[in-house]
């Protein structure tokens, strides 16, 4: 009897987007949430050598990325979230609709922070692996293609874009990311986010990103962040960036 009632309430809430004031967790408010599972890398751990070393890739994927998923799931489990997903579609939904999703649940301040930080970390890294590719020389977006044109429009030239991206990356103090994003108006820009914040939260679509947390480069580069940034240009996945346009 109780189960049937809950189903009726769930259907009603989906149609009318009700919020349950008694803090009950309903199936509908979790409809777009799934537990996070880290995806496989699209290449071998040593595929990004010499730009990023194998040991860093292994730790970064199996320890850091995994920890974000695990910690986010600890909070999601408290919300009775069901099912599992290794795609950033679900984390994107959560980050883009953060205010409305969390208004349907009663989470403590520490748990809100824990979910936000770790969902951000999970999402950022899902994209990051795809934003990188095995190194190649003269790595750049297709000349005359849409992305290349957008970059030239905004920055003047590809070289000027690279300088802006590199300078921003050097300037990120503490932990964070530099991103090439496409904004809602269709134009591209270079932005930075602190810690595991995502450009999705500001309505921007991430096209390329560079993880500037020290764990992303310390084993090979130590304090030499500018060298790590330089190496990024050989492994940036312009095909992925192009694909993400207008999504």
């Amino acid at each position: 009897m109780r189960r049937a009632t809950r189903c009726v309430l769930a259907v009603t809430s989906r149609r009318r987007n009700l919020t349950f004031s008694r803090g009950l967790t309903t199936a509908s408010s979790n409809a777009n949430l799934r537990l996070f599972k880290i995806p496989e890398l699209p290449y071998a751990y040593n595929a990004l050598e010499p730009a990023v070393d194998q040991e860093t890739m292994k730790l970064h994927h199996t320890k850091h990325h995994q920890a974000y998923a695990t910690k986010a799931n600890e909070v999601l489990k408290e919300l009775n979230v069901q099912g599992e997903s290794n795609s950033e579609k679900d984390s994107e939904y959560l980050l883009v609709n953060w205010d409305s999703v969390i208004s349907q649940h009663k989470l403590s301040k520490p748990n809100l922070k824990k979910l936000k930080n770790n969902a951000g970390g999970f999402d950022n890294h899902c994209r990051f692996w795809k934003m990188l590719r095995p190194p190649r020389q003269q790595n750049a977006p297709q000349q005359g293609g849409e992305l290349s044109n957008l970059i030239n429009e905004k920055f003047g030239s590809f070289q000027e874009f690279q300088k802006k991206f590199s300078d921003s990356s050097v300037g990120v103090f503490g932990s964070g990311w530099t991103w090439l994003v496409q904004n809602a108006d269709g134009k591209v820009d270079v932005v930075t986010t602190p810690n595991q914040d995502s450009p999705l939260e500001d309505g921007a679509r991430p096209l390329l990103g560079l993880d500037l947390w020290e764990h992303a480069y310390y084993l090979k580069y130590q304090n030499k962040r500018p060298e790590y940034i330089e190496s990024f240009w050989t492994i940036a996945n312009w095909d992925y960036a192009q694909q993400q346009l207008n999504k």
Partner: protein, 201 residues
């Protein structure tokens, strides 16, 4: 009077095996070294900062630009950090500090709370034991190179102990295992120096 990189109070391998010689070399000679140079740049650009001590600057930091905040904080924090550490197992808490630790709930509780704060500081930052305005010990944490001496500190107080939880402080040895680093770090705490600072605060 420009700010200068202070030397380590001991050899680069003095904190082995808790903190490796390699980490100490990068941490002092590269990371810490970058802060005074940029701090001096920021000070030179602002006439009202001329001749001020680093503590004075931290005391008005909320009015100053990120260049001064980040590098002033980094400069002070690392100078403090080297001083409140020493070779493994060479000191124990005593005197007024020992009493304050007992009043806090004991050494194990202090360690646990500190390690929890340190592990929970998302991104880069520091964990601190401070003496607050009531004279009691408190455990806090700050992001990036902020510290409890800053005039806009959420939990102000005099630092007695502090641990750097930026990844560069531990990654070469501990990698992702920040909790392991936090646990091991207590072996290199210089309780004599901490006691002196507690008494002076």
């Amino acid at each position: 009077m420009a700010f200068e990189l202070p030397p380590l109070p001991y050899d680069y391998d003095a904190l082995e095996p808790v903190i490796s010689k390699e980490t100490m070399t990068f941490h002092h000679d590269k990371h810490h070294a970058a802060y005074p140079a940029k701090l001096n740049e920021g000070v030179a650009a602002d006439p009202k900062l001329e001749g001020k001590s680093i503590e004075d600057i931290l005391g008005m930091i909320s009015t100053l630009p990120p260049l001064v905040r980040n590098n002033g904080g980094g400069f002070w924090n690392h100078d403090f950090f080297w001083k409140i550490m020493g070779p493994k197992g060479s000191t124990q808490p005593s005197g007024a500090l020992k009493d304050a630790i007992d009043a806090y709930g004991g050494r194990d509780k202090l360690k646990d709370d500190f390690n929890t704060k340190g592990a929970g500081q998302f991104g880069s930052g520091w964990a601190w034991v401070i003496k607050d305005s009531s004279g009691a010990l408190k455990v806090t944490s700050t992001p990036n190179q902020d510290n409890p001496l800053m005039d806009d500190a959420k939990e102000p107080g005099t630092p007695i102990l502090g641990n750097d939880v930026w990844e560069h402080a531990y990654y070469l040895t501990y990698m992702n295992d920040r909790p392991g680093y936090l646990k091991a770090w207590w072996d290199v705490v210089n309780w004599d120096e901490a006691g002196k600072r507690f008494d002076a605060a």
